[in-house]
C-alpha cells in the first residue's frame, strides 16, 4: 500500500476535480431517480390497470421503498465510520435504536407525567399528555443525541485498533438495546416502557416547520394535514429528503479537510499521524457524524412504523448494514446506496415474492425466506472471491486493491527466482 502513496499524492488535485464533477452529476441522478419514483407512484400507477397495479403492489410497494430508504440512511452513516475512516463498527444498531427511542420520547404521549402535554410546532391533536415536537426538530435532536452517544462510546475506545475496536462496538450494540428492553423501571421511572415499546407515535406534519393549522383571529386554516398511515407518498418525499441530506453531507465532508483526514487514517494510520492528522479528533468526528445519520435513520424508521419496540434492534441489523456497505463498495456513497436498496428490497419483498412465484410455477412448497441468510452469506463469499472492492468501488479503493494484488504477485515471482 505504501507503494501507491506517492502516485496518489501526485495525481490528487486532478482526481478531486473529477470527483467533484462526478458528485454533481450523481446529485442530478439522485434527484432524477427520486422524482421519477415519485411520478411513477403518484401519476403512472393509477393508470396502469388492475393487473399492473397488482404486480407493482406485490413486487415493489411504496412502503417497501420507504423502508429501504431507512436502510439507505443508516448505511450511508455506517459508510462514514467503516468506509471513510476504516473503523470497523459492529454495533451500529445502537444508534438506530437511540434515534428510534428519541422519536418515541418526543413525538408521543408516552411521558404521561406531563399531563397537558408539551407542544412545539406539532401536528398532534391537542390536550394529550406527553411531549409533542415537530418531526424535523426531533430529527435534529436525535442526530445530536446519537452524535453525543457516538463520542461517548468513541472516546475511551479509540486507542484500540481493528478487531479490538470491533469487539467493543459489538458490545455497545448489544448493551443499548438491553437498556431499552429493561428500562421500564429505573428506580421507579419508566424510561422506555420495556418490551411493550412506545406506540403509537404522533402523526407527523409534512411541512418542514410550523403547525398543521394557522389561526388567524377566530378562524383556523389547515395548511397541511398530519400524515396518517396511508400517506406513503408524502412519507416517501420526506424520507427522500432526509436521505438526500445524509448523502449530501457525506459527499461534501469527504472532499473537505476532515474527509481527507479520514481517508488518510484509513490508508495508513501511522503515516497519517506523522503528516499531522489529529487521529483522536478525526476518529471521534467519524463516530459522531456516522452516529448522527444513524439517529436520523432511527427517527425515520419510527415514523415509518409509527412505533418503537426494543426487540427489533438486534445484532443481525448491524451485520446486514455492514453487508450493505461491503456489497455496494466501501467508501463510495453511491455504491452503498445501491447496496442498501438491493439488500433491503431483497430482504423485505424480493425474496418472499420470488419464493411465491417459484412455488406457484413449479408447484413446490419451499420456504424461500427462511434461506435468507444462506443467500446473504453466499453473496458475501462470492463478492470476497471475485469482487473484493464491492459492486461500485471507490476509484481509490480499486487502485489500492489492484496494486496490492500486483505487488503480491511480484513478491511471489521474486520468491521463486
Amino acid at each position: 500500500m505504501a507503494l501507491s502513496t506517492p502516485e496518489a499524492v501526485e495525481t490528487a488535485p486532478a482526481k478531486s476535480d473529477i470527483a467533484a464533477s462526478h458528485t454533481r452529476r450523481w446529485a442530478l441522478w439522485f434527484a432524477a431517480i427520486a422524482v421519477f419514483v415519485w411520478v411513477f407512484y403518484t401519476f403512472a400507477l393509477p393508470n396502469l390497470g388492475s393487473s399492473g397495479q397488482t404486480i407493482v403492489r406485490e413486487w415493489m410497494p411504496l412502503g417497501s421503498v420507504n423502508e429501504a430508504l431507512v436502510w439507505v440512511i443508516c448505511a450511508v452513516g455506517l459508510n462514514i465510520v467503516v468506509g471513510y475512516a476504516g473503523l470497523l463498527d459492529l454495533g451500529f444498531v445502537a444508534f438506530w435504536a437511540i434515534g428510534g427511542y428519541t422519536a418515541g420520547w418526543f413525538m408521543s404521549n408516552f411521558f404521561n407525567q406531563i399531563s397537558n402535554g408539551f407542544y412545539f410546532l406539532s401536528a398532534a391533536p391537542p390536550n394529550q399528555p406527553g411531549i409533542h415536537l415537530n418531526v424535523w426538530l426531533v430529527l435534529g435532536l436525535a442526530g445530536l443525541i446519537c452524535a453525543g452517544a457516538g463520542i461517548i462510546i468513541g472516546a475511551p475506545t479509540l486507542r484500540l485498533k481493528s478487531d479490538y475496536l470491533a469487539l467493543v462496538t459489538l458490545g455497545f450494540g448489544e448493551i443499548i438495546p438491553q437498556v431499552f428492553l429493561n428500562g421500564a423501571d429505573i428506580r421507579g421511572f419508566n424510561l422506555t416502557n420495556g418490551a411493550l415499546g412506545i406506540s403509537p407515535l404522533d402523526n407527523v406534519s409534512p411541512l418542514p416547520f410550523g403547525p398543521s393549522t394557522i389561526a388567524i383571529g377566530d378562524a383556523s386554516i389547515a395548511i397541511s394535514k398530519p400524515l396518517g398511515p396511508f400517506d406513503t407518498t408524502a412519507k416517501y418525499v420526506m424520507f427522500v429528503l432526509v436521505a438526500a441530506f445524509a448523502v449530501f453531507v457525506s459527499l461534501r465532508i469527504r472532499e473537505g479537510r476532515l474527509g481527507r483526514a479520514w481517508l488518510a487514517i484509513r490508508e495508513d494510520e501511522l503515516a497519517a499521524s506523522m503528516m499531522g492528522v489529529p487521529l483522536m479528533r478525526s476518529k471521534l468526528a467519524a463516530y459522531a457524524v456516522g452516529a448522527f445519520m444513524g439517529g436520523l435513520g432511527g427517527v425515520v424508521y419510527a415514523v415509518h412504523n409509527n412505533s418503537v419496540f426494543p426487540d427489533r434492534f438486534n445484532f443481525a441489523i448491524s451485520i446486514i448494514l455492514l453487508a450493505m456497505v461491503v456489497l455496494g463498495g466501501m467508501g463510495n456513497v453511491w455504491g452503498v446506496i445501491v447496496g442498501a436498496l438491493v439488500l433491503a428490497w431483497f430482504n423485505s419483498t424480493g425474496l418472499p415474492q420470488f419464493g411465491d412465484s417459484f412455488n406457484q410455477q413449479f408447484g413446490t412448497d419451499i420456504n424461500f425466506p427462511s434461506y435468507n441468510y444462506l443467500f446473504f452469506g453466499s453473496i458475501l463469499v462470492l463478492m470476497m472471491l471475485f469482487r473484493r472492492e464491492g459492486l461500485f468501488p471507490e476509484t481509490r479503493t480499486r487502485q489500492v486493491l489492484q496494486e496490492a494484488e500486483r505487488s503480491d504477485a511480484e513478491e511471489l515471482d521474486g520468491g521463486e527466482v
Binding site: 393487473s51 410497494p61 412502503g63 404521561n112 409509527n306 412505533s307 427489533r312 430482504n347 420456504n367 427462511s370
Partner: protein, 425 residues
C-alpha cells in the same frame, strides 16, 4: 408465467361473479347493491407463518379453511373469500414490526377486504389496530383469537386503550380472555386452594410475561397473598441458583412464573426445585406460556407444577361436546391429528364473529365494523359456536363474555386438567 396465473385467477373470479349474479337474479332480489345481493367480500387472516409460532398459525389457518368450506363460503347474502397474510419474517424468526406495518396498509389497500382475523401477537396488534382504525373507508374490523394483552381493549397502562383508536371509534374485538383474568385466576387459585401467603413473582421481561406477572401481583393482595418481589429472569443466564437463594432467604412459600417456557424455563424450573425444594412443598405456577411443552411435562422437577390456560384446551373442548367437538373431529379427519394449538378453534370463533357482522352489514367496511360496535353487538349462539358455548362481544369494548380459565397440573409426565376456574372481579 405469473400472468398465466393472473389470467386464470381473473377467469375464476369472473365466473364466480357471474355465477353469483345469476343466482341473485334467480332469487329475484334486485335491490341494487344495497342488500349485497351475492357480492363477494374478502376476509383475511394475519398470523406469523414462520418461526416458532408457525405450527400454531398453520393449524389456525387450516381450521378456518375447513370451517369456511363447511358453511360453503357464505355469510348471509355474501360470498366470502379467505386471504392469508404473514406478519413474520424469516430473518426475525417471529412477527416483525415492519411487516405488521406493511400488512396493515395492505389490508386497507385491498379494496374488497372487509375484516381481519388476527393477530397472534399483541405487539403486532398494537401496530395494526391504529392503522386499520384510520382507514378512510372504515374503520376496518379486526378480531383476534389470541391477543391477551389487556390494554388493547381496557384501561391498563397509561394511555391504554384510547391511544390505539385515533379516530375515537372502536374497531377491535377478541374472542379470548385477557392476561389480567388469567393472572387473577392464578392468584385466586393459589390463595384459596393452596393457601399460600407469600409469593415471589418472576417474569421473562417480554410484553406477555410482564403483563401476566403484574396481573398476578395486582390481584394477590386482594386474596391475602403478600408479594415479596416481581423481577425479570434473564433468559441468557446459565443458572438461577443465586436468584432462588435470595428468594429462599425472603421466606417465600410460592413461586409464580410469568413468561414463556422457551425463555430458558427448563433451567428455571430445575433450579427452583434444587434450591427451594419439591413443588409439593413450595408450589410453583405458570401461565399458558408454559403449556404444551412435552420437555417440561417430562422434567422430573416439573412434576406437581400448576399451570393455567385462558380458554379451554382441545381436550376440554372435545369433552364438552357440541359444535366444538364436531369441528375438532372434522379437523382430525381432514388433517390426521388435532390442531397443534388450542388457539385454532378460537381462530374459527373469531371468523364466526366476523361472518356474523358481514351478514348483517351492507358489505362495506364501515358497516361491518358498526355491526360489532353498535346496538347489541354480535352474539354467536352456543349450538354453532366453535368453542361450544355462546360468544357475546361487548359492543363498548370489544371484549368477549366467555372467561374460561383452566387450571392444570403436571402429573405423571403429562398436563392434567384439575378444574375450570370461575374468575371473579
Amino acid at each position: 408465467m405469473r400472468n398465466a396465473y393472473k389470467i386464470g385467477a381473473l377467469a375464476i373470479a369472473g365466473s364466480l361473479a357471474l355465477a353469483a349474479c345469476g343466482s341473485s337474479g334467480g332469487s329475484g332480489s334486485s335491490a341494487s347493491g344495497g342488500g349485497g345481493g351475492g357480492k363477494t367480500v374478502i376476509i383475511s387472516t394475519d398470523l406469523p407463518l414462520q418461526g416458532s409460532s408457525k405450527d400454531a398459525s398453520d393449524a389456525t389457518n387450516q381450521a378456518i379453511e375447513l370451517y369456511l368450506k363447511q358453511i360453503g363460503y357464505k355469510a348471509g347474502n355474501f360470498t366470502v373469500e379467505l386471504k392469508k397474510y404473514d406478519d413474520s419474517t424469516a430473518a426475525a424468526g417471529k412477527w416483525d414490526q415492519a411487516q405488521c406495518t406493511k400488512n396493515g396498509t395492505d389490508h386497507v389497500a385491498n379494496t374488497n377486504e372487509v375484516a381481519v382475523m388476527g393477530t397472534y401477537n399483541s405487539g403486532c396488534a398494537q401496530i395494526m389496530i391504529p392503522i386499520l382504525n384510520q382507514d378512510p373507508s372504515g374503520p376496518m374490523l379486526m378480531v383476534s383469537q389470541a391477543n391477551t394483552y389487556p390494554g388493547l381493549t381496557k384501561p391498563w397502562a397509561p394511555g391504554d386503550p384510547d391511544k390505539y383508536y385515533p379516530t375515537g371509534k372502536r374497531n377491535y374485538a377478541r374472542v379470548v380472555t385477557t392476561d389480567d383474568n388469567q393472572g387473577r385466576a392464578a392468584a385466586q387459585f393459589m390463595a384459596k386452594d393452596l393457601s399460600v401467603k407469600k409469593c415471589y413473582v418472576l417474569n421473562d421481561n417480554e410484553t406477555y410475561g410482564q403483563g401476566i406477572a403484574s396481573a398476578f401481583a395486582k390481584e394477590a393482595p386482594n386474596v391475602g397473598i403478600t408479594i415479596l418481589g416481581n423481577e425479570p429472569w434473564d433468559a441468557k443466564q446459565p443458572n438461577y441458583t443465586a436468584l432462588f437463594q435470595k428468594i429462599k432467604g425472603l421466606g417465600a412459600d410460592c413461586i409464580y412464573l410469568g413468561g414463556i417456557f422457551d425463555n430458558n424455563g427448563g433451567q428455571l424450573v430445575k433450579d427452583k426445585v434444587a434450591v427451594l425444594g419439591d413443588n409439593s412443598k413450595i408450589p410453583m405456577m405458570g401461565p399458558d406460556g408454559f403449556t404444551g411443552y412435552p420437555e417440561l411435562n417430562k422434567l422430573p422437577e416439573g412434576q406437581g407444577m400448576y399451570l393455567s390456560f385462558p380458554g379451554l384446551t382441545n381436550e376440554d373442548l372435545r369433552k364438552q361436546g357440541g359444535s366444538a367437538a364436531k369441528l375438532l373431529d372434522a379437523y382430525k379427519a381432514q388433517y390426521g391429528s388435532d390442531p397443534a394449538s388450542s388457539y385454532a378453534l378460537y381462530g374459527v370463533a373469531a371468523v364466526q364473529v366476523m361472518l356474523q357482522a358481514i351478514s348483517q352489514s351492507d358489505g362495506t367496511r364501515k358497516s361491518v365494523t358498526d355491526q360489532v360496535f353498535s346496538g347489541a353487538g354480535i352474539t354467536i349462539p352456543a349450538d354453532v359456536s366453535a368453542i361450544g358455548k355462546e360468544i357475546k362481544i361487548d359492543p363498548a369494548t370489544g371484549d368477549v363474555n366467555v372467561i374460561d380459565i383452566t387450571i392444570e397440573q403436571i402429573k405423571g409426565n403429562a398436563e392434567t386438567t384439575l378444574k375450570a376456574w370461575p374468575v371473579t372481579a
